[in-house]
Symmetry: T
Subunit: 156 residues, 12 copies
């Protein structure tokens, strides 16, 4: 807990902090996995995926800033270090080395399914705890669900 | 090793690949540690450091792209996943929670000293192995050394 | 229904889909009626209305994209074809031929009243069905209510 | 007929008006069908078509403005309402629901063939009736023929 | 009350109007106090605060437009005149003359605490009265809480 | 006649030169009369006309460059001097001193009628003399006819 | 008086300070009254005035910065707080609630007449006291007189 | 004389009006002569002069707006019509047809000498009559003297 | 012949294709000769020509795209390969090595004369064969004739 | 050899000149072959390749300027004429007519392999002859190797 | 004295020239001292001063252009060479080597005091000698006094 | 020597520092001499040289920042003060007063020859001392040699 004054009760702050920290780790990992695939993908759809992955990395990075700074603003710290991400992320692992275009599509559909399910829960628990945080998480989720559709649409 | 044709001999490729992979991990970690401090820093110089840290994150992220795509271009894959970074980075650890402005300055001076020492070695080993990669590493190092000075100048 | 995975229950998805499809048709029609008036308006206030109508068309077109892509993202398709719009829109009809500036103002006040009433209902039904969609509809409605005021303010 | 003074004879004005009204309806419909496909397309080439369709919608919308405002400028009104478009467009119908990438390509090749054939006739009839309008229709047709090629090139 | 048609019941409109008018006065005053400090601040951190204060003035001014135009859009007028602000603002007074950097930081932490507490209440009362207004107030509050953190972080 | 080589026969060049010189004088005068009204207009629609007049001046100035440089390009000189404009322009005179908004509208409708009639003749005579020049005059005329409509639309 | 060194004699500094403080209050009030009218205006010319008022607010806000920072630069503080403005401004009061377009025009003509008369005096007294300040006030007055004309031109 | 209220005495207004009208005519003529030379110049330095002349036309056109709108702002009308310019300009005449680069340089040196001499007088007479106008004329003159130097520097 | 559907008869398509292929080769060559001179020119006018040549290269490159894509759009392929250009271009050869500024001017006047003569024929033959192509060639020719004048104007 | 003074010995200059001339021809040819494929490609990946090819043409054109102007800067001329390119380029020939997407990918992989091998040799020979040129060639090669990877990644 | 014609008497020109040459030397030196400090500063406020110093260098450089070109425009030459600056500048010397943040602030307060005192004298002597030059010097001084305040405000 | 940690040995640091300090002085002087000529040049090519000189000043100024900040980054200070430049620069002196265009060209060819010769030596000595600095000096030299050619090309 930081020394920043918060207008939330201790309980609400704890609930909200947990939701934000969970979202932060998932989003940092999404940005790292996105870059990993951006670099190592190959196959007929290489160029299209290479560009699409870069767009989701930009989007995920912006979301990490929103989420982390919201945590600080309610008086808790944010933890987006590599080890924390490696241990607590809910994003499925990506193997090292080259990765085919079709595998990338499957992987990201799976990843979005996992993250979105968690985000939906975070939206629920923050409704009464902190509607300002909830609104922020709703905005992030809307974007994630749109990106999820775009990968699913690429499955024939 | 990927299926991309390389104009380098196997030995030179291996040497170069190792240098690039080491640089990649350090730079991804620098970007994560930079954001961690960007969010959690406090103290008289909060705003100045908050802005300065964001600039070095942008710079580090750009460098990761240069380094990773160079690896792919010479026929090896790049590994910038959270777990790989957590395990193999040469950047000193940053603790969680709030971090004071003076501690941030010390931490980053230490971090740059470690990364630059490694980059200098990578420049040396790639000189004969692959001058194209060496040139890229020289450019990245010049930028790192400039950022290092800026933190040192903030020590009275 | 498409093959896109949705995190919504079937019932919530159906409720949400109906709200989005209704909003889509109204917004496409608003953009078409807006252009129709943009072209055929005349009178002392021609230039002012000509410009104002173009702004609301841009705004309506952007909203159609948000609404339709939200429908796809939750696993339903979107229908914004001319015939569907002609048959199911809740926007009052505009006659063909030239249309005077004062008639344009009356027509659009009436149009906004109709659309906003429907949007308010859609906000209500999506509250529990899908808060992410609700948030999107709230944003669109805020913009529509602002545009509605601007036409009403032009009545002396 | 509006009260705008025209430098054209009544006969030339009628001929020109008919050509412009026909072009307007086709172009409005092209923009609506383009968006319909932009939203509902799926398949391996989803992303590429999704982007390509957005570009042709922008282009078609710009063309509707040119054509409709030319009609007004020669003293006739323009009719781009949903019902008018639904009834008089020469663009082939698109079914509702999801639509595969290959079907989109076929559909748009067919659509362009129909529109271009009509545009070629409109260019012919306006040559003596109003060379200013003809020049405008030539410019629009050049663009349509270029877009038509791009869909045909995607057929293997 | 203006003549603008509102989709709200009289009671809901009155509740919402009061929340918006309160927010408007606080935000106008925040922008004036912000400029006052922007001009008269001195001390080691002069430049950093001078720039930071200008950013919050820009942000507060944008928020006043959102809030005032929302009031008009629901059929009530907005009052942001100097005398109204001087009498009804909940922002703590700032003394005239030069003001030191440390005093500025304390003053703004106090100011944000006061405004945010009121905004939280306004969010609560508009939840059922008008969710569109609530959404707008949530967005403004998120921004205020972020700015509040930034001043608190500057306390060592 | 200048020393620039022309691909036109002497007769065609003379015909084309006369059309271009006539267009040049009319367009320079339109830009001067436009500014005169831009400055001296008053009345309820002052601001709207003040802005509209500035747009037609920009448009007329661009057209003078196209027309004059086309003249030079076919080997004749261009004459846009004040005295030449004062003596040979076909634009109706504007009186000095203040001018009411309604008078401005009437004056410009009259002015456009005169210029467009001459432009139509110039399009005709250059058809066989020089299609490149004709194409340029068609483009200028299309723009003039659009501007003419905008003034006529302002008549109730 | 601040601790900033001034190159002016005490007497000249006092004269200049008084002129600047007077200008500051009038310009802050002009920006607040401008926004008040921007929000609450209605009538046939709503849109035109709504836009025009926003432009004068931007201009007035820029001028307040010039004037206040000039005061600081000569070693005096600047006072632009709501209460100071409410008590010492020479701008005529604007009533609350909706305000018709014609009333807005009258009100602003009256306001500009009052402000400009004061500015003219300030220009006179600063001529020998501080030519640098005088030059700044002349520039601000030129802009005010231009805006004043624009409102007067809207009177038929 | 217009109906715009002026803060100037009748005598001062007349003096100022005459200075502004003289400046306006000279500047409109400079812009026309500049374009005339821009189009018809030839010789080794064609391209350099062609570009330089376009820059002075842009500058002169901007100055005409400043000067004319200042006239209106003090309650007099502005006269920049072709005939008025042809008859009352103090800019030396330029002959029609092609004009060599060296002749252009001589002509513009002569033109600037004439205009600047008149501007210097106008600065003098407006000093007491209206310092706001004087400041504007000083700014215009500074620009003219800079342009004058640039032509003189081109004489070897 | 490609598989792109064309609305032209076989004969018209062949005529049009030949005109476009001829134009393509000339324009590619113009861009190569332009760069050759851009690099190797020397003399008093070096800088002016160096910049002018770069502008015509940009213009020529844009024109090659228009022309080649028009060919594809009517169902024929485009051939802009080095060998094809070297063998079939109608642009006069440029020698290797340094080239003086005066020689550059002469060379480009000659080059434009040759290309324009061919373009004029291509405009003629496409008039009935394909007015859309003719319109495109007219636009390209207008630009070429303007550039031609600019070189001729540089001859004293 | 030009008359530009060079700081290189005659032997080093000759070595460097040969490397630069070789690079120039390859890069001009790459830009021409790139455009040829940009226009004539067809197949499922048409749009993706059409865009990718345009990017490499832009990149190749920029590189030709760097290389050619470096040649001039060391006192030798540059030869990028069509015939020189056709005869001395090391880029494999591309056939005329339509070309399938898969054929394009193969062709460009082959082309990059050839060019890069030559560039690597040029880097070697210029190391002692002229490090400034070597640095430039290293930069160009880095870009070529990245583009080469992107085509190889498109092979499944 | 140059050969540029001046509208000033010899005496006035001499007076004005001396004022401008003095201002030029001070401003060039300010830009050099500013950069010297920008590079060598260290201390807690390093980053803030590093950025602030860069802004005053940009501002000083722009002012040198205004001042020098004004000198040329009145027919005298300008001397901003290193030796002239080293010998005649009124800016206090800065020592070599690192310089602490507090020392920088003191140094620049001293420097501005010296330059502004001289500028005030130059404003006085040019009032009758050349009001156009005076106006320019007033503008430069206003900027210098604002920068001076900013350094003084940083003293606690 | 500053307190910045350097990864270089003392000897290498000294060698590198000397090279950087020498380059800094030459580049600062080049920027001052460039401005001196920019202001005082005259002759037929005035405008072309006036613009060209401004471009090299911008380029030289950017290079001074690169070089000076590199010095600081390796732990030495940078000295770019007027007196240091006046005493140690290797750029040939420029006389005061007006300077003809041909003299400017000669002077700058001489200046570039001197600077480039020194830069070549600096590149050599830093090769083993510090490859990062060498790379930076190579980039600066490439730009200087290009600018040098441009002046030489202007000699007939």
């Amino acid at each position: 807990m930081s020394t920043v004054r918060s207008s939330l009760s201790d309980e609400n702050r704890e609930t909200t902090a947990k939701a934000l920290q969970g979202a932060l780790v998932d989003l940092v990992d999404l940005s790292l996995v996105g870059k990993q695939a951006h670099w190592n993908v190959y196959g007929k759809n290489f160029r299209s995926l290479h560009l699409q992955l870069d767009e989701i990395v930009v989007s995920a990075r912006n979301a990490t800033d929103l989420v982390a700074e919201r945590a600080i603003a309610i008086g808790v710290s944010a933890d987006g270090r590599a080890a924390t991400v490696a241990e607590t992320s809910s994003v499925p692992k990506i193997h090292d080395g080259q990765i085919s275009d079709t595998e990338v599509v499957s992987l990201f559909i799976e990843a979005y399914t996992a993250i979105i399910a968690n985000m939906r829960e975070r939206i629920e628990v923050t409704e009464s705890a902190d509607p300002v945080t909830q609104d922020l998480l709703i905005g992030v989720t809307a974007e994630l669900e749109k990106q999820s559709w775009m990968f699913q649409a690429e499955l024939a």
